[in-house]
């Protein structure tokens, strides 16, 4: 759509001719005056332009300075952010009910899980249990670890006694002597006991067990019944024995100070050496052995260094050694045995196996398959097991299967609190595992 060339050129040529004609007329009239006036005008114009340019230059220079400063500022801020790490990280955004995730918890679900009991008794279900019932339930479900009189077997917790020992060198902290709230006992027994069968006690059984524990602590009479109504009235022996963390006042105030760096003491003596050396065998675990060097004298220290240098110190060191991986079981039964080993976790709280296994709250189980029932030396069996021993009965696979499925019906009166394995695959696996164990 461009214009034809003639339309552009013709007016341009006409304009030039007009200007030439005007110039000839002006020159003829008064050349000198006009030239001066023109030059003067030009001088003014040039000066104005120069002034303008100078101002523009100055403004631009100032703007450049501003921009440079701005850039420097941004760079410095970026460098600072990198240096201090306060870059683009930010806490996860949050807001009230913002995400609409999850679903409403149903009443039945809350009832199933929200079973904790508060110190004032809120959360207790209705129910009751007396000391006599408690004694029976305790003997059946608790005594294998805690002892018939709540005195504790082996390292398992002692539940009774220990009154007036809290200030002694080895305080005996029992439910009776130490626990400040009865709710704690009910709550813990109900949710977490018996060990290995948590959550299987009824509310009445729990009331009864708690009543029996109070009785074995001489805190109630033998005709005492505990229930949801008299629960909150019961005050524990050590209810006022606790203070809330007071380290800020007693310790922090004193220990927030500039520490000593030089000549902080005149002399330092070694007052005690390690009681145990700890060996770390390649198969894992540790062995604590007495430190027989503990009696030997070691130097004392001053700013000048040690008082003497003992020669050939005998202190044994427990240096870990590289170990070869245990040979993997290669036969086809390995999987079953491995499964059985997992199932055995349910038993391991009370029964020990492996080299040097000792009787715990249950007898050790090495070589159990094919072993005479009730035949482990040094274990106090229940009457039903003693009778089986007299009859010469043997733990074959059939007997074990039946017993482990329903211990209390196969061996009526057994002390074993375990309620039985429900899955047949678990039974087969755990017996295969037991059979794989040596004598």
């Amino acid at each position: 759509m461009s214009k034809p060339l003639s339309q552009i050129f013709l007016p341009a040529i006409g304009g030039t001719a007009l200007m030439l004609a005007v110039a000839v007329v002006v020159a003829e009239r008064n050349y000198g005056d006009n030239q001066i006036a023109t030059l003067e005008r030009q001088v003014v114009q040039v000066s104005e332009r120069a002034e303008k340019a100078r101002a523009t230059g100055q403004a631009e220079a100032a703007r450049v300075g501003e921009l440079e400063a701005e850039i420097a500022e941004i760079q410095a801020a970026a460098a600072l952010r990198v240096a201090t790490g306060s870059n683009l990280t930010a806490p996860a955004p949050e807001a009230e009910g913002a995400y609409g995730l999850g679903r409403a918890a149903l009443v039945e679900e809350i009832a199933a899980w929200d079973v904790d009991v508060l110190p004032d008794g809120r959360g207790l279900p209705e129910g009751k249990g007396d000391v006599w019932t408690g004694e029976e339930v305790f003997a059946d479900r608790c005594a294998s670890c805690h002892g018939d009189f709540a005195e504790g077997v082996d390292n398992w917790p002692v539940l009774a006694g220990g009154f007036d020992t809290l200030g002694d060198e080895d305080p005996v902290k029992t439910v009776g002597s130490y626990w400040p709230h009865l709710s704690t006992a009910w709550d813990y027994i109900s949710r977490s006991m018996p060990f290995g069968e948590a959550g299987t006690l009824t509310a009445d059984e729990t009331y009864a067990i708690v009543a029996y524990i109070l009785y074995s602590n001489d805190l109630v009479d033998e005709d005492f019944e505990l229930n949801h109504e008299n629960f909150a009235d019961f005050n524990m022996y050590n209810m006022d024995g606790f203070v809330i963390d007071d380290r800020p006042d007693l310790e922090y105030a004193a220990w927030r100070s500039e520490p000593c760096m030089e000549n902080c003491k005149d002399e330092v003596k070694i007052t005690m050496r390690s009681v145990f050396l700890v060996e770390t065998p390649p198969e894992g675990g540790s062995n604590s052995v007495m430190n027989h060097a503990a009696g030997e004298e070691l130097p004392s220290f001053t700013a000048a260094g040690p008082s003497f240098i003992p020669e050939g110190a005998k202190a044994t060191q427990a240096v870990a050694q590289d170990t070869a991986a245990p040979a993997a079981l290669a036969d086809d039964g390995a999987d079953l045995i491995a499964d059985g080993q997992k199932v055995f976790k349910k038993c391991a709280a009370c029964h020990k196996v492996g080299e040097g296994a000792k009787n715990a709250s249950g007898p050790q189980l090495n070589g159990i398959v094919g072993r005479t029932i009730g035949g482990v030396e040094g274990f106090k069996y229940s009457k039903v097991f003693q009778a089986a021993l007299e009859e010469g009965r043997v733990w074959d696979e059939a007997a074990l299967t039946e017993f482990l499925a329903k211990p209390k019906s196969y061996m009526k009166g057994t002390k074993m609190a375990f309620s039985g394995l429900k899955k047949e695959t678990d039974l087969t696996a755990v017996i295969a595992y037991l059979a794989s164990l040596g004598e």
Partner: protein, 420 residues
């Protein structure tokens, strides 16, 4: 696949000879050329293991002694027990999950993500149930925190007991957690977050370990975590979801977290009354002692890490941490606390996370009494055992953050001792 490298007996013997020569290799002139250098080694000739040989890698067999270990006589059963992180053999600050100490009250359970449910109830407008997948849809954060059992160093109250930093100080680990701020879940359920309220948290295992956390802490930095060090939590650390309570005792870091309940009082559960409380000399006890105070220990040299190189350059290294915030300084003494030198921090400590320190020194080959002393951002200075005993007596079990002493003999053997 090529021929695989297997260490031969010949190579082993050659290696031993070289190791013997190595004891003098540090001096200016070796006695003879080192066969490890001059002879072609099997590993430089045969090919190694293929890429998928171990789909999930374990440490090389030469490091198989670096494992957690328990002390059997401490507890009645390994199912309700504790073991110890091999901190003597680690460096840096992050604890690999596979060797991070375990503490279970009813054993470690196998809980599938598909079977996982988390309930938020109590004083909330909307009691909610979340699946694992729900949790991954909330905004999440990453933080490195230490987790220390309140009983760490507890055996040492009465005197020097166990010869090994793994056993005196190994109830600790330090991981990078990925999780949701607890406050996000509380607000999602419309919880009453007034400052006098409590948040009771409970695990899904048979012990159903439960602890009460005051609202202020619950709204502060507590995380509902599902990853540690980048991967899923290990079973023994609470797979699939555990609570992270920065700077506070490990028992509150409930594993297999199944329930969060807003309450108006502390529940006073077994683990916050009969356990994790300390009896003092007059028979009174201190409760709600949640914060782990500043503490440090030299991990090398230590009884399991003797000095094998004789006099000369020696790196003394250790860990420091504080439940009150950042570690700002660690001092080391070689003479049982007469003279102290300020150690170099590996890097500026994260808040409530392990900080590594080094004292790069020259050993004169004489016996030493090594101690470390931590300071945190509040100005708190780690106390001596005597200072602690003066305050609390000897019957306490938990929260022993005393200065530890190692006697190092002229032979470089270290032993756990107590000093005047």
């Amino acid at each position: 696949m090529g021929e695989k490298f297997k260490p031969s007996r010949r190579a082993f013997l050659r290696g031993s000879a070289a190791a013997a020569a190595g004891t003098v290799a540090g001096t200016a002139a070796a006695q003879g050329p080192d066969p490890l250098i001059t002879e072609l080694q099997d590993w430089a000739s045969y090919t190694g293991a293929g890429v998928d040989e171990t789909p999930y890698g374990m440490p090389i067999s030469f490091e198989s002694h670096v494992v957690r270990r328990n002390v059997e006589w401490l507890t009645a059963s390994p199912i309700s027990s504790i073991n110890f992180t091999p901190i003597h053999a680690l460096d840096g600050t992050i604890t690999p999950q596979g060797c991070a100490f375990e503490r279970h009250h009813s054993g470690a359970i196998e809980l599938r993500k598909e079977d996982y449910r988390l309930m938020v109830n109590g004083l909330v407008d909307r009691p909610l149930v979340f699946t694992y997948d729900d949790l991954e849809r909330f905004p999440r954060e990453n933080h490195v925190y230490f987790c220390e059992c309140a009983a760490n160093t507890g055996m040492e109250w009465a005197g020097a007991q166990l010869n090994g930093v793994q056993f005196t100080h190994g109830m600790i680990h330090n991981m990078e957690y990925t999780g949701i701020p607890l406050r996000t879940l509380l607000r999602e359920a419309g919880a009453d977050i007034s400052p006098d309220k409590w948040v009771y948290v409970e695990g899904a295992d048979a012990s159903s370990n439960g602890r009460s956390i005051p609202m202020e802490k619950a709204l502060d930095d507590v995380l509902v975590a599902f990853k540690a060090n980048g991967e899923a939590l290990r079973m023994e650390h609470g797979y699939p979801v555990r609570l992270v309570v920065p700077g506070w005792e490990g028992n509150m870091w409930v594993k297999w977290l199944r329930r969060i309940e807003v309450t108006d009082v502390a529940v006073e559960s077994r683990e916050e009354t009969s356990k994790y409380t300390d009896v003092y000399e007059d028979g009174t006890a201190r409760k709600w002692t949640w914060v782990m105070d500043a503490k440090s220990v030299i991990t090398s040299p230590s009884p399991q890490m003797p000095i094998k190189h004789g006099a000369g350059p020696l790196v003394i290294s250790g860990l420091a941490w504080s439940g009150h915030g950042q570690i700002t300084r660690v001092d080391v003494s070689k003479d049982g606390g007469i003279t102290w030198e300020t150690a170099r921090l590996g890097k500026q400590g994260d808040t409530k996370a392990l900080t590594r320190f080094y004292l790069d020194t020259q050993w004169d080959g004489k016996p030493m009494l090594l101690q470390a002393r931590a300071m945190d951002e509040t100005g708190y200075v780690q106390p001596t055992k005597d200072q602690l005993r003066e305050q609390r007596g000897e019957n306490a079990v938990y929260h022993n953050n005393c200065i530890q002493t190692w006697y190092v003999s002229a032979e470089g053997i270290a032993e756990n001792v107590e000093t005047s």
